[in-house]
C-alpha cells in the first residue's frame, strides 16, 4: 500500500511444500474458506481501512489492524466462511479494487498458494 516509506513486506512467509494441490480435489461444503487480501503498492492505506470498515462493518481498530497486517506481512485473512460467502466477498473486494483471493482454510500455511510471497514479484526493470 502506498503513503508509506516502509520497506517492502517480508515476502518470505510460508514455504513451498511439495507439489501444488490438485484443483479438482473434492471439497466438502463445510470446509471453511478464507478471504485473503494481498498487499500492493497502489492502494491507499486509508482506502483499504475504509473498505474493511464499510463493507465488513469492522471497527476502525480492527480494520486498521488488518490493513497493517496486509501492509507488513504482504497478506492477511480478513474474513472466513463458506466457499460461496468468501467468493462473494472476493467479488466485492475486486469491485473496490483490492487484490483478493480465496483459499481453503485447512492445510496450514496458506492453503493453495504454492509460491511464497506477494503477487507482485518479479519486478520489471524500469525504462
Amino acid at each position: 500500500m502506498t503513503i508509506s516509506v516502509a520497506p517492502g513486506p517480508d515476502t518470505q512467509e510460508g514455504t513451498r511444500t511439495g507439489t501444488a494441490e490438485s484443483t479438482d480435489s473434492l471439497t466438502a461444503p463445510d470446509i471453511p474458506w478464507n478471504l485473503v487480501i494481498w498487499n500492493d503498492p497502489v492502494n491507499l492505506m486509508s482506502y483499504v481501512s475504509y473498505v474493511f470498515q464499510s463493507y465488513f462493518g469492522y471497527s476502525e481498530t480492527k480494520a486498521n489492524k488488518l490493513m497493517m497486517e496486509v501492509h507488513r506481512k504482504g497478506r492477511s485473512i480478513v474474513a472466513s466462511g463458506s466457499k460461496e460467502q468468501v467468493e462473494r466477498h472476493a467479488v466485492a473486494m475486486h469491485g473496490f479494487g483490492l487484490w483478493a483471493t480465496v483459499e481453503k482454510a485447512s492445510g496450514g500455511n496458506g492453503g493453495a498458494s504454492g509460491k511464497s510471497g506477494g503477487p507482485r514479484q518479479g519486478k520489471g526493470k524500469r525504462g
Binding site: T2, I3, S4, V5, A6, P7, G8, A20, T23, V36, P41, V42, N43, L44, S46, Y47, S49, Y50, Q53, S54, E60, E87, A90, V91, H94, G95, F96, G97, W99, A100, T101, V102, E103, A112, S113, G114, K115, P119, R120, K123, G124, R126, G127
Partner: protein, 188 residues
C-alpha cells in the same frame, strides 16, 4: 487549483478546475473502454442475460488483469471458472462507478452523497491502478520514486507526465477517503 474533498454540513464536497475535470474525464473514459466487454456475436443470449460468460479468458493486458484479478492464487482453472460466473457483473459494477463519477464532473462544485462518494473512491482507485501499471509501479520503492515527482515544470516526457497525473489522483483519492472516514465516524 483543485480543492481537497472535505466533509461538512452539505456532505462531502470538492472543487476541481475545468482542466482537471477534463483530465479526470478522459482518464475515466480510458478505464471504461478497457472494461467494456467485447461485443461477441453468436453468444448465448440467455447466458448473457444472467451474466454468464463462457467465452471469457484471463486478461492479457496487465492493467485489465489488475482490475479483474484471478480469485484463486496459482490456479488458473478455478479462476477461469469463477470469471465465467462473475466477471461480466464485476465489469458492470466498475463501469457503473466510473460513469457515476464522470457525471459528477459536469458540475463546478462536487457535492457527494455517501453512495456517490463510494463510487468516486472506487473510480479513482481503478484509474490509479491503471496508471500504476502504465508507470510500472511494482513495489513500494517504485511508488516512492513516482511520488517524488511533484513539479509540473519537470514534466518533459510521457512518463513524468503520467507520474504527475498519478500523484494528482492519489492526492484527490486520499482527501476523499479522509472525508469519507470522517463522515462515517459522525454517522456512527
Amino acid at each position: 487549483m483543485a480543492k481537497a474533498f472535505k466533509y461538512g454540513l452539505k456532505g462531502i464536497t470538492g472543487y476541481l478546475e475545468p482542466a482537471e475535470r477534463d483530465l479526470l474525464r478522459s482518464l475515466i473514459d480510458d478505464v471504461i473502454s478497457m472494461l467494456e466487454p467485447e461485443d461477441r456475436t453468436g453468444q448465448d443470449p440467455l447466458a448473457a442475460l444472467i451474466g454468464l460468460d463462457m467465452d471469457v479468458s484471463e486478461p492479457t493486458d496487465r492493467a485489465v488483469k489488475r482490475l479483474l484479478p484471478n480469485v484463486v492464487k496459482d490456479d488458473g482453472g478455478a479462476s477461469l471458472e469463477f470469471r465465467q460466473l462473475t466477471e461480466r457483473s464485476l465489469r458492470e459494477t466498475k463501469i457503473g462507478a466510473l460513469r457515476a463519477a464522470a457525471l459528477d464532473l459536469d458540475k463546478d462544485e462536487i457535492v457527494l452523497t455517501p453512495e456517490g462518494a463510494q463510487h468516486w473512491s472506487m473510480a479513482l482507485n481503478d484509474v490509479r491502478l491503471v496508471l500504476a501499471e502504465r508507470l510500472d509501479i511494482r513495489d513500494e520503492a517504485d511508488a516512492e520514486h513516482v511520488h517524488r515527482m511533484q513539479d509540473w515544470s519537470q514534466a518533459e516526457d510521457v512518463e513524468s507526465y503520467l507520474a504527475l497525473v498519478y500523484n494528482f489522483t492519489t492526492w484527490l483519492q486520499e482527501s476523499l477517503v479522509q472525508a469519507m472516514l470522517q463522515s462515517m465516524e459522525t454517522r456512527r
